[in-house]
Symmetry: C4
Subunit: 323 residues, 4 copies
C-alpha cells in the first residue's frame, strides 16, 4: 500500500508542525493538548503548579483546598498540643482527646482569623505560633483568591467540536468537513481556523510522518454565534486528492485543528484545538443542519445536541479514483 | 420588488458573516451581542457563570451577593439549631425564636470571620461546622474578590453610537453615515472600524440573506478622543448603489459595525459592536457638529448629548436612480 | 506669513488624527492624554471610576481609602448609637461622647472583622446591622484588593521623554530629533514609534489644522534598554521641509509621538504617548550622549539625568531656505 | 586580524538592535535581561517595585513578607506600649518584657484581624491605633494577594535553552544551531524565533559593534511540544560566512535569541530571550536526538536532560575558507 499511496500525494511536505517525522502516537489529543511525555529534570521543575491548578476539575480543585485546610490544622494542632494546653485558655481538659479536639479548633479559628477568643493563647510560645498561623492563613487565602480568579477568568473558547469529520460532496467534488459551535453564553468574533494534517508513510519499512497545511474554503468568519462547518476541499492542492474510502481507513491520518477567536467579555484572543484521526473520519456522509429560524422569525435557534448528526451521501466519482 | 432589487445589486455576495443565509431576525442586537438562542446540552453546560456574572448589572450583582449571604447563613443557622443551642455559649435561650436569631448571628459572625466570641462553639460537632463555615466564608469572599476585579477590570470601549444612521450628501454623491464617541474618561488610540451588511432578498418566494463588506472612507484613526463619523460612500462598489428612499425603507437591511481600539489604561484592545436596521436609517439627512473649541481656544469640547442631532439635507440626484 | 507658509508645504494632508481640523488647543498633553473636555450625559455616566482610580496618584488613592474607612465607620457608629448602646456589651457608658467613641470602635472592629468581642452586639437589631457591616467590610476590601492589583499590575512603559526636541544636523541635511529612555527596571523589546504632526494654517483668516504622518529614520528597535533617539529627517517628504528657525517659532506645530513596546514582565504591549509643541523645539542643537561603557567594559551605563542635555550645532545651509 | 576579518563580512550592518555600536560587555544576559546599568534619577523612581517583586525568587519573596510582618508588629507594639498597657485588657503585667510580648501579640492579632479578644483595647487612643492597624492589615494582605496573583499568573514561556550552540554540518554546508525545549506542563503554539548577532570589529584601533539579523531555516512552528533546533545556515547571506574555527573563538560574537509563542493556559503571548557568546559556540559538533517514541508507539518521550548532548562532527571544507 505504502508505495502506491506515496504516488498519490504529489504535494511537498511543507508544514512545520513542531513534531518530528518519527514522533509516534496521536500528536494532539482530543482536548487539544500535545501527546508528549517529558522526562529528565526533576518533577518539581517539570510542573508549573499554576498550570496544574488551572487544569484541575472544579471538584478536584476544591477537594485539594479542603484537604490542605484539614492537614494544616492537624499540624498546628499537634504543635499547640506539644507546647502544652495550659498555654491556651478555655480548653476542655477532661481527657487527651478532648484536649486535642480543642486545640484543633483553636488552630482553625486562628488560621481563618475568626478568633472567637473562647480559646486564646497565653504566654510566648503559643502566642508566637498563633501569630505565625494567622499570617499563614491570610497568605493561604490570598493564594486561593488568586487561584480562583485565575481559574474562572482564564480565557477559553468554549467550543464544541463534532466528534467526527465527514468526507462529503461539495460543489462538483468532495470535501473533508467537520463542524464546531460555541456552547456557552460567550460572544466570539473574528474567528479563524488553521488546519493541518499528518500522514504516515512507510519508506523502506520505516514509518514516517509527513505534515501538510490544509486549505479551507472559508478560513475566517465575523461572528461565531451559530455553528461553523469548516470545509477542506479535496482537490489537486489537497494531500488527500485521490484517496479512496479504504485509504482514509487504512492510512494513519491525523488532522489538527486550531480555532482562534476574540472573546468580547475576556477582551482576549481565545484558542481551542482538537484533532481527528482516521477512525474519526466518515467517508460519504454530510452533516444535517443544526440551526433553524425560531417561530415568528425573530431569532435563530442553534440546537447543540445535533452537532454530530449526519446522513449518508453519495460522493461524485472522479476518474482519478479508478487508478 | 424583489426582482428589480436583485438587478440593482451588482456585487458578489462575499462577506462571511458567520450567519447562515436563512438565519432570521436581527443578527446583532443594539448592544452588540448576537441574536441567537441555544438549545440542547443542559443549561448548566450552556452557561458560563463567569460570563453571566460579568454581564449582570451592578445592582443585580450586588443583590445576588446579599441574597446568597442571607441564604447561606440561614442554612448554617438551621444546622447549628439542629445540633443544639447548648453547644454554643452565650445564646439567649428565652424562647426558640431568640435561639434561632442568635444562631443565625453566630453563623454570620463565623462566615465573615468577625468572631466576636460572645457566642462561641463548644464541643466537637458545632466546632466542626463552624470550622467549615469560616473556611467556606473565606473562599466565598475570595471568589467575590475575583468577580469584583473581573467586573471592573474588564476592558470595555465605552463608546456611544448614534441611534440612527443617515444617508447624507458626501463629496459629489451620497454616503451612509453614523457616528460614535467615547463617553468616559478613557483614552482610545489606533481605532479601526469593520462594516458589513446583510440584505434580505426574496428568491422564488424564499427570503434569504446576502452579506456584503462595506468600504469606509477612513477606516482608521489615531486618537479616538472626539466623535468619529464613519462614512460608507454609496458608489459602484456599494451594495446600496442605486437604492431609493423606498428601498431603504422596504428592504430588510442590517448594517453591522465593529469598532476596535487600544485602551491605554487597560493596555488592551477593546471591541464594541452595534447594528443598524432599515428603520434606523434616515434618508436625506446630515449630522450637525458635536464638538467646538472652548473659550480661549485652549481645549476642545465634545458635547455628547448632540450625538443624535441631524438636519434634513438634499441628496444629489443621480441618473441611475431614475431607472 | 500664512500664505508663504502654505506654499512651503507641498505634501498632501493625509494623516487621520481623529482630531478635527478646527479642534483647538494642544491636542495631546505632555502626559499623553488627549486635551478634550466632555459635556452632556451626566457626570456619573461620563466617568469610568476604574479609570479614575487607576489614574490617581498613590497618595490620593490611599487618602481616599482612609477617608472612606472613617466615613463608613462614622455612619455605622451613628446607626448603632441610634439603636441604643444597651444593645452592645462592654460599652463605656460614663457619658454620651464615650458611648459614641465605643460604638465607633465597635463599628471599625466589625468592618475589619477583627471582632475582639469586648464590645459585642446583643439582640436582633444591633446584631443585624453588625452582620451587614461585616459583610460590607469584606466586600469593600475585596474591591480594594482588586484596585490595588489593578493599579500595580497595569502595564506601563515607564519611558522618560526628553523635554525638548531639537532640529539637528543629520547626514547631509537636518533632522528633527527627540529622545526617550526606559527609567525603571523593566525590559522592553520590539519597540516601534509612530510620529505625526499637526500644523496650523490660516486660510481666509480662519485657523485650521493639517495633519501629517512623519517618517522616522529607524522606526523599530529590538531591545529598548538604552536611550532611543528618534530621528525625523527633514527632506522633501517632510512637511517641515524648508522651515526656517522663525517658522518653527511662529507656526503652531504639535508633534505627536506614540511608542509601543513589549514588556516581558507584564507579557503585554505597552504604549506611551507624548507631544512636542513649537516652544519645545530647539533649532540648531544636538543631543549629547547619555550612555557610556562602564569600567572594565563589562556593562553599559545609562545616565538618565542627561536626557535633556544638548549643545548648539550649526545646521547646513540649503538653497531652498533662502527663498 | 581586524582587517582581514572586515573583508570577510560582506553584508551591510543593518540590524537595529537598540544597543549603540559602542555599548560594552555582553548585551543580553543568559536570562534574557539586558546588561545595562541605569544611573541618575533617584533610586525609588528608577525601580518599579512591582517588577522587582515579580522578579524575586519565591524564597526571597516570602522572606520579605515575613520580615515586613514582624517589623510592622514591632512598630505597633512600641506604639501600644508607649500609649500604656493599662489601655489594653488582659495584659500580663508581671514585668516589662511580658508586657511588651503581650502588646506585640495584641498587635499581630489586630493586624491579621484574628482578634481573640483576650487582649482588647479600652479607651480612645489604643482603640484608634488598633482601628488603624486592622485597616492597614487588610490593605497589606490585599496587596499581598495581588502580588501572589501577579507572580503566579505572570505569563512565562518556561523554555530551556541549550547552554551551547554548535556549528554543525547542514545540507551541503554548515549551520549555526542551538536548541530549546519547553520543560513544564504548558502548551505552546505558533512559536517563532528572531535571531540577531553583534560582531565586534576594530576600526582604527577602536572596538565597535556591528549588528546583523540572522536568517533561520524554519522560523515558525505550530506546536512547541518537543525540542526545537533553531538553524541558521552559514551561507552568503550570513555574516559568519567564511568564519574559521579561530574566528569563532577570537572575535567577540554575541548571538541574541528571542522566542515568542502563544500559551493556551495564559491565553497570552509569551516571550523568552537568551544569548550565546563566542565561548558558548562549539565548532564542528552536532546535537544528538533528545526525543524518541515511547514503547507501544502510543506517545513520544522528550528527555530534557539531553538538551546539551552533542557529538563531534566533521564540517565540509569550502574553498573560501582557504583564503
Amino acid at each position: 500500500m505504502a508505495k502506491g499511496f506515496r504516488q498519490k500525494i504529489r504535494l511537498k511536505n511543507t508544514e512545520n508542525s513542531g513534531f518530528g517525522s518519527n514522533a509516534s502516537g496521536r500528536f494532539i489529543n482530543k482536548d487539544g493538548l500535545p501527546n508528549v511525555q517529558r522526562r529528565g529534570v526533576n518533577v518539581f521543575n517539570r510542573l508549573s503548579w499554576y498550570h496544574t491548578m488551572l487544569n484541575l476539575s472544579t471538584f478536584r480543585f476544591l477537594s485539594y483546598l479542603v484537604i490542605a485546610y484539614i492537614l494544616i490544622n492537624i499540624v498546628f494542632a499537634m504543635i499547640y498540643y506539644l507546647i502544652g494546653v495550659e498555654h491556651l485558655t478555655g480548653i476542655d481538659k477532661s481527657d487527651p482527646l478532648n484536649e486535642f479536639i480543642d486545640v484543633f479548633f483553636f488552630s482553625s479559628q486562628t488560621f481563618t482569623t475568626v478568633g472567637y477568643g473562647r480559646i486564646a493563647p497565653v504566654g510566648f510560645t503559643a502566642s508566637l505560633v498563633a501569630t505565625f498561623e494567622a499570617f499563614l492563613g491570610l497568605l493561604t487565602f490570598a493564594i486561593a483568591t488568586g487561584l480562583f480568579y485565575g481559574r474562572f477568568s482564564r480565557p477559553r473558547a468554549y467550543l464544541r467540536f463534532s466528534d467526527i469529520a465527514v468526507v462529503a460532496p461539495f460543489q462538483e467534488g468532495t470535501a473533508l468537513m467537520f463542524r464546531l459551535a460555541p456552547y456557552k453564553n460567550n460572544a466570539l468574533t473574528d474567528a479563524d481556523v488553521i488546519l493541518s494534517t499528518a500522514i504516515e508513510v512507510v519508506e523502506d519499512g520505516v514509518a514516517k510522518n509527513n505534515f501538510y497545511r490544509l486549505e479551507t474554503h472559508l478560513s475566517k468568519i465575523n461572528t461565531l454565534a451559530l455553528n461553523w462547518t469548516v470545509v477542506h476541499k479535496i482537490d489537486e492542492n489537497s494531500p488527500f486528492y485521490g484517496f479512496s474510502e479504504d485509504d482514509f481507513k487504512n492510512i494513519n491520518i491525523e488532522m489538527i485543528v486550531q480555532i482562534r477567536a476574540f472573546d468580547e467579555v475576556f477582551s482576549n484572543t481565545v484558542v481551542q484545538r482538537s484533532s481527528y484521526v482516521s477512525r474519526e473520519i466518515i467517508y460519504g456522509a454530510k452533516f444535517t443542519p443544526m440551526y433553524y429560524p425560531a417561530k415568528e422569525h425573530l431569532t435563530t435557534v442553534l440546537d447543540l445536541d445535533k452537532i454530530n448528526e449526519y446522513q449518508k451521501a453519495d460522493l461524485p466519482v472522479r476518474e482519478e479514483e479508478q487508478i
